[in-house]
């Protein structure tokens, strides 16, 4: 059984990731990822293979860093005006890990509302974080974002979910 303090610590870490995205603190957001950490948003429900099946995003820290610079330099046409987001992360459950663990698998549901100019969009789905304890916090080894409409028809996406 996971002590309540550990559970709360994990929850706050997951919520912090979402808040940093909403605040546009993309470099601080990327710092939450381990040097070999991966952000994965599949293009198919139940997708297990990132190599033979295309993904909406399957990027490690190095590629995410390019993505973050693109967001920060705000030269991207698609970022004019800069979108605003509100992430709501809920139904957080520790799927793997106990009192003695340093690695945890954390599931949650999310709702992300994005406003750009006059256009508002809603993204919904489930996410699974693989996090590892590091010093007094955690680092993300892998974030799996299963968008409910991952295999649907899309408009451009800019800010990570």
């Amino acid at each position: 059984m996971l002590p309540y303090e550990t559970l709360r610590e994990i929850e706050l870490f997951i919520l912090k990731e979402a808040r940093l995205l909403d605040e546009g603190q993309f470099e601080a957001w990327l710092d939450l990822y381990a040097p070999q950490g991966i952000y994965w948003m599949p293009s198919k429900p139940g997708q297990t293979d990132p190599l033979n099946v295309a993904s909406i995003i399957y990027e490690d820290h190095a590629i995410l860093a390019i993505r973050v610079q693109r967001l920060l330099e705000a030269r991207a046409l698609v970022l004019t005006p800069m979108p605003r987001t509100v992430h709501i992360v809920s139904n957080i459950e520790v799927l793997k890990g106990d009192a003695t663990s340093t690695n945890f698998e954390v599931g949650a549901a999310f709702l992300c509302t994005e406003l750009q100019g006059e256009r508002q969009r809603i993204y919904a789905g489930r996410q699974i974080h693989h996090i590892a304890r590091e010093d007094d916090s955690f680092r993300i080894r892998r974030k799996h974002v299963a968008l409910m409409n991952c295999d649907g028809v899309h408009a451009p996406m800019t800010i990570p979910i």
Binding site: M41, S43, K44, L51, V53, A65, H154
Partner: protein, 450 residues
């Protein structure tokens, strides 16, 4: 007070003269992009008359395999019948008109209408109706009027299936013309001489006319400006830092960053039927330059192809460096990267783009992984490249929807283009490809009914 004349004016179909008035040698009228009547005519005269790509045979391996797609303004099913033949059927029950198939694709020996249970075979013929004795004697199950309606003309070229809604179309091969080269080149890159379409793809929708996407794909002037937001961060990023992709993503982003000097090597080609392509562009990264790349996967792949075809032939296939091969009116193929895009018009200001990649049969798995990566980098909704393109297409549509200054300019390069037997060639800066596209557009839009 309205006497009804206004409505009548709006409903009057456009004539050839109205269409001719929209095109000048170096300018196009905004109505070509923004007028719903022009769009309706395009659906009839371009998407309803030309050969349109509908499927790849690797999606239809077994009898009963089918996919659902669009052909002009119709939703169609592309099927493989029990005898192996491919059919294109309107996705509509002839009984009461209900849409029959709700899924994107799959395998089914029959299509049955859930309303009154008419059941059809994969060739569209009616196989059974429940309670047949209640139908009158005049009702004939074999009458084609009771079958799913077939598109008459379906032809394949090396696995690429095209359909044509007109009565007497020229052979597909005639429409493809010299563009068979690029389909050949894609297929020939497979050591086993066959390609398979990947079962993952992306569907992107933008708020703009379909022609904007086609023009953008033939436009080598814009990347310097439009893609600087991904080129600059890629330039600052360290080499080979990614653990995932042998630097493929970074190299792809960098490939859009070239100056006016580097244009010198690029040549644009435009063919009579509206097809266009560019030569010597976008050739960085592990998937490009398979003729020379020294990474172990490329070396292994090249050896496999060489073993099958001999060095000279393999080098010639791998050396073909043509980008954005556009088969008019809506198919874009990049053989070198095993990529394909299909532009599907939905309305005058709404377009669907389907982005696919292929597996080269007999090539190392890693070659396919790279094609999948390429697909994600350029075709995903989160693409750092295409998202900026889409933004510009949408801004163009916003501007073209207003009545202001009706003519838009396609004059760049007009004085320097060279016309040969096969079509036109120009340097990178020319808008010749768009002029070629509009020349074909004008021809089809004003053609006398056959």
């Amino acid at each position: 007070m309205s006497n009804g004349n206004e409505a009548q004016t709006i409903d009057t179909p456009l004539g050839a003269e109205d269409i001719r008035a929209l095109i000048r040698p170096d300018h196009v009228h905004r109505r070509a992009y923004a007028d719903p009547q022009v769009f309706a005519m395009e659906q009839e005269r371009i998407f309803g008359k030309l050969w349109i790509y509908v499927a790849h045979e690797s999606q239809l391996k077994q009898p009963g395999d089918f996919i659902r797609t669009r052909l002009s303004k119709y939703e169609v099913l592309v099927t493989r019948h029990n005898d192996g033949q491919i059919y294109v059927l309107h996705n509509r029950c002839p009984h009461r008109g209900a849409r029959l198939c709700m899924t994107e694709g799959g395998t089914s020996r029959t299509f049955s209408c859930p309303y009154h249970a008419w059941v059809f075979r994969p060739d569209g013929s009616l196989s059974s109706v429940p309670h047949p004795k209640s139908y009158p004697a005049s009702f004939d199950i074999k009458d084609p009027q009771n079958h799913m309606q077939r598109v008459k003309n379906v032809q394949s070229y090396r696995g690429f299936v095209f359909a044509n809604l007109s009565d007497n179309p020229p052979p597909l091969i005639e429409h493809l013309g010299p563009m068979t080269d690029v389909i050949d080149n894609l297929v020939d890159r497979a050591p086993d001489g066959e390609v398979e379409i990947a079962d993952s793809s992306f569907s992107l929708e933008y708020s703009g006319n379909w022609k904007l996407h086609l023009e953008n794909a033939a436009d080598i002037f814009h990347p310097t400006f439009v893609h600087s937001s991904s080129v600059l961060p890629a330039r600052k990023a360290p080499e080979n830092a990614s653990i995932l992709d042998q630097d493929q993503t970074r190299a792809m982003l960098l490939a859009n960053g070239f100056g006016f000097k580097e244009w010198e090597g690029i040549q644009l080609s435009g063919l009579d039927r509206g097809h266009t392509y560019m030569t010597n562009f976008y050739d960085q990264g592990v998937l490009a330059n398979q003729k020379q790349n020294q990474d172990p996967v490329s070396v292994r792949y090249r050896a496999m192809l060489t073993e099958k075809l001999g060095k000279e032939r393999a080098d010639s296939i791998l050396g073909m460096n043509r980008f954005n091969n556009i088969i008019y009116p809506n198919l874009i193929i990049n053989a070198q990267y095993q990529q394909m895009r299909v532009t599907i018009p939905l309305s005058v200001d709404r377009t669907l783009v389907r982005v696919h990649c292929f597996r080269l049969k007999g090539a190392p798995d890693e070659i396919f992984h790279r094609a999948v990566r390429f697909l994600s980098n350029i075709g995903s909704p989160a693409s750092m490249i295409f998202s900026d393109d889409v933004e510009m297409l949408e801004r163009c549509q916003r501007g073209l929807a207003t009545e202001t200054g009706p003519w838009i300019d396609f004059s760049r390069g007009l004085d320097n283009d060279q016309t040969g037997t096969d079509g036109s060639v120009s340097g990178a800066a020319s808008e010749m490809p768009m002029r070629v596209q509009f020349k074909a557009w004008l021809k089809h839009m004003t053609a006398e009914a056959a």
